[in-house]
């Protein structure tokens, strides 16, 4: 499914951009902008501003998230930051602190 995987022992400090799905099992600091989906797995730690189409978060994210389609916070995630997307799902058990804005006119 996904072409790009950032493995659990990898630390990236900088900027990631691209046109394909990205799976994060490691640590990314800085900025992420994708035209496809981002998956932050349970071991993943992201301290970055995120601009994507979809994002699934099961790990830890600190930073603002802007999605053109959907943001999904899974059961054991921890998210701190503002979330802006037309569709936002927060599962039972998720931990989240920040603003939610679903009033996005894109799409």
């Amino acid at each position: 499914m996904a072409n790009t995987i950032i493995g659990s022992s990898i630390v990236i400090d900088g900027e990631i951009s691209g046109d394909e799905d990205l799976v994060i099992q490691g640590t990314v600091k800085g900025k992420i902008s994708l035209k496809e989906s981002l998956f932050v797995e349970a071991s993943g730690v992201v301290e970055a501003d995120i601009e994507v189409q979809n994002v699934d978060i099961a790990g830890r994210v600190t930073g603002n998230i802007a999605a053109t389609d959907k943001v999904e916070l899974k059961a054991d995630c921890r998210v701190v930051g503002d979330v802006r997307a037309p569709r936002i799902l927060i599962a039972d058990g998720a931990s989240f602190k920040g603003n939610v804005d679903m009033d996005v006119k894109e799409r």
Binding site: M1, A2, N3, T4, I5, I6, G7, S8, S9, I10, V11, I12, D13, G14, E15, I16, S17, G18, D19, E20, D21, L22, V23, Q25, G26, G30, F39, E41
Partner: protein, 201 residues
């Protein structure tokens, strides 16, 4: 296209940078990394870096092993080996005990296989025509390194001016060996080579 096995799931211990991904910044890790996209900045791994044919790395790279089938612009320091495959293109310096450059690879830069000497200028021409595996290419470079101490006492027939500068910069690097006469250089080289091999192992 991909020589490696495709992943069916997201599990596993492999990191892949896909073809449309650009990472700019600093990347560190303790696992193998396969680059099919672009990485710019700095890259530090304790395992193997694989730059596939679609991969572009513009970074200073510090890894254990590097296998380059794509493009690398920047210096590579590897604690074990660097291999440029036939599709590999690289501009930059290589610092590694084992350097493998196969036929078809394109490379511009210094090669330093270690051994505490500052990179000798005379190694540069030797690095280009190397088309054989490292095991056979090593004797080609070792005499080049060994020739530098010979050049220090200005006994070498055609010492470039840079060699003098290097010699002046590091005068007490080693106790000065008695300068061998310029003619029997081959004998001197053979002797040096053996000494070097002994030191390494």
């Amino acid at each position: 296209m991909a020589a490696t096995k495709e992943f069916s799931s997201t599990g596993g211990d492999a990191t892949v940078i896909g073809p449309s991904i650009l990472i700019s910044g600093k990347l560190t890790g303790d696992e193998d990394l396969t680059v099919r996209g672009r990485v710019e900045g700095e890259l530090n791994l304790s395992k193997t870096l694989i730059v596939e044919t679609s991969g572009i790395v513009k970074a200073n790279v510090s890894v254990r092993n590097a296998i380059v089938s794509g493009v690398v612009v920047g210096n590579i320091t590897a604690s074990e080996s660097v291999e440029l495959t036939r599709e590999g293109r690289m501009v930059g310096d290589i610092n590694s005990p084992r350097v493998i450059i196969v036929d078809g690879a394109s490379f511009r830069g210094h090669v330093d296989m270690g051994n505490a000497e500052p990179r000798p200028q005379s190694e540069r021409p030797a690095a280009r025509p190397v088309v054989r595996p490292a095991t056979t290419s090593r004797p080609a470079t070792v005499p080049a390194r060994a020739a530098i101490p010979v050049a220090r006492p200005a006994a070498k027939p055609q010492p470039p001016p840079i060699a003098k500068v290097e010699a002046a910069a590091k005068p007490e690097n080693k106790p000065a060996p008695p300068p061998p006469p310029p003619q029997p250089v081959l004998v001197g080289e053979a002797g040096k080579k053996k000494v070097l091999v002994k030191k390494k192992k």
